[in-house]
Subunit: 347 residues, 2 copies
Amino acid sequence: MTPIRIIVCGFGNVGRAFVRLIEDKQDDLKNRYGIAPKIHAVVDIGGAAIADTHGLPLDQLRELMDSGQSIERMASFGRPGMSGAAILQTLSADVLVEATPTNLVDGEPARTHINAALKKGMDVITANKGPVVLFYKDLQERIQSSGGRLFMSAATAAALPTLDVGKLCTAGAHIRAVEGILNGTTNYILTRMGQEGCDYTTALQAAQDLGIAETDPTLDVEGFDTRNKIILIANQLFDQCLGITDVETVGITGVRREDIEKAQTDGRVIKLIGSVRWENNRLCVKVAPEALEADHPLAGVHLSEKGISFDTDSMGRITVTGGHSSPTGAAAALLKDLLHAYCFYRE
Amino acid sequence: MTPIRIIVCGFGNVGRAFVRLIEDKQDDLKNRYGIAPKIHAVVDIGGAAIADTHGLPLDQLRELMDSGQSIERMASFGRPGMSGAAILQTLSADVLVEATPTNLVDGEPARTHINAALKKGMDVITANKGPVVLFYKDLQERIQSSGGRLFMSAATAAALPTLDVGKLCTAGAHIRAVEGILNGTTNYILTRMGQEGCDYTTALQAAQDLGIAETDPTLDVEGFDTRNKIILIANQLFDQCLGITDVETVGITGVRREDIEKAQTDGRVIKLIGSVRWENNRLCVKVAPEALEADHPLAGVHLSEKGISFDTDSMGRITVTGGHSSPTGAAAALLKDLLHAYCFYRE
């Protein structure tokens, strides 16, 4: 039985869902995969909880979550005021699970956490897009010199397996193009506009009323979230080091009711597509609304659902759709990366 | 650079496509994956070609294929009359690629090839369903005692990544159900019946005229091909040892025009589904035509296309569609398994 010591930074919805999954599935992880993950420390904004040698007791962690208590209040283990940076300076573990909120300005505090973990040769599994989008090249250099590994499934559309399909399922094939519907909110708005013939503002309001769009929907509707995901996909699958300014990004705020109707008349459907395509031997990465033909495999991906399609030489076109867009879905992607790191991949 | 010595048994469409891929992609395999596969021997019905220490010259192999010559006539290397069994007794290599025609009566000659390779501790990558469908349990026991590994992506819907998605992309999730459209011919026939309102016989004839259905279509239309694939999927993903008689199998020969029309009236579509489902804590594996709701993710998989959908606990539903149904698609799946074995997976 391989014990795996994990430090979890960020104990919001995703961090909590991850710890719940580890607790729910501990028997299954032992029986099916031969691993025993131990939560060595959990850090949140108000402080931390640090385990003795056996890992934090998962039943007590669950009680704490169920009662809505802060992690630094955990009996025996709580350390009010202790930061992630301090934890990563003093403790060693096998893996950092980075689940603090994404910060697209300077990537903090995740950047500090990830750099500190890699410096120690720890593996890093991140749901946080900030550092990987902003400092991809720098991180690659740190990985090279540290021996740690970096996994980011949860940052690239969570439970929808984008990187796995592009790396593992299509191994050996040349990927000519990737097209993805990578953001559920914008796909929901476009679907409603198409179904109800309403304009963008009305559909956005409906999405906000349902909690699908945020009060400030900028990150989604301007295409920035899609851009961040397609950057990671391009960097991981095509060995690039693209940053935010390298990707021409058009969101859906300019899509008019007439555009949707015109597309429908032509038997097409407008979707916000993040794409990577070889054009004249140059890799073009962009985000824009595109009018897909009715038989395009992403044309039937509706409402909040996501999907990604790979056009390859030897395997033809392979498309994957679905996957929970939820904290549990993101946590499941973190767990999947953990299993890939410790049960499937070579060191 | 890891050299990998390969013995290819079966030099029909799939075996040839595999050797072509290895030749086409040798630079790419070196640069991206750090491997140098060598074709150590190729065997077909009339004999073999055996390499010296450097592997068979890939350019000469290509010339031989382009000119339609038999492998045993290959200059310097040809061995007329030499069988796969003899090759595997006398030669050692890292991997057997088994691509002889599937035999569902006794699994031969593939069974002999695979058993001999495993006995030597070689890895086996098979496109041939025969031995793995007929003798799964026996093979598992041989694997346990030999140290060799067995990969069968190419036998389970070729370039459509069925096993990868169920093992790797959903790692850590509990799969509650698998539903697959795993046979292109029957999906083509059902699609035509739906689109044109014709009966089964007419649609079958159309499929035969186009070369999509064989003159004797039994294997496809009786659901046997779907059954063979779902057996392998159930065995690999749910740790079962099912055989042919364990799976209730109904094909499409009994689907009437009226059934299709009735389904259409109800907003449904009839598809031949191979399924694995937990029902009352029992795993139910079967093949039958099912009337899918219009929003089922496989409802839009038409004509010769295939697809598979996984219903999971933590990741929700994940569906993958597409993948070449061709010798090249099957060869690409063989190459993918080779890369998984030597570049991704732990030993």
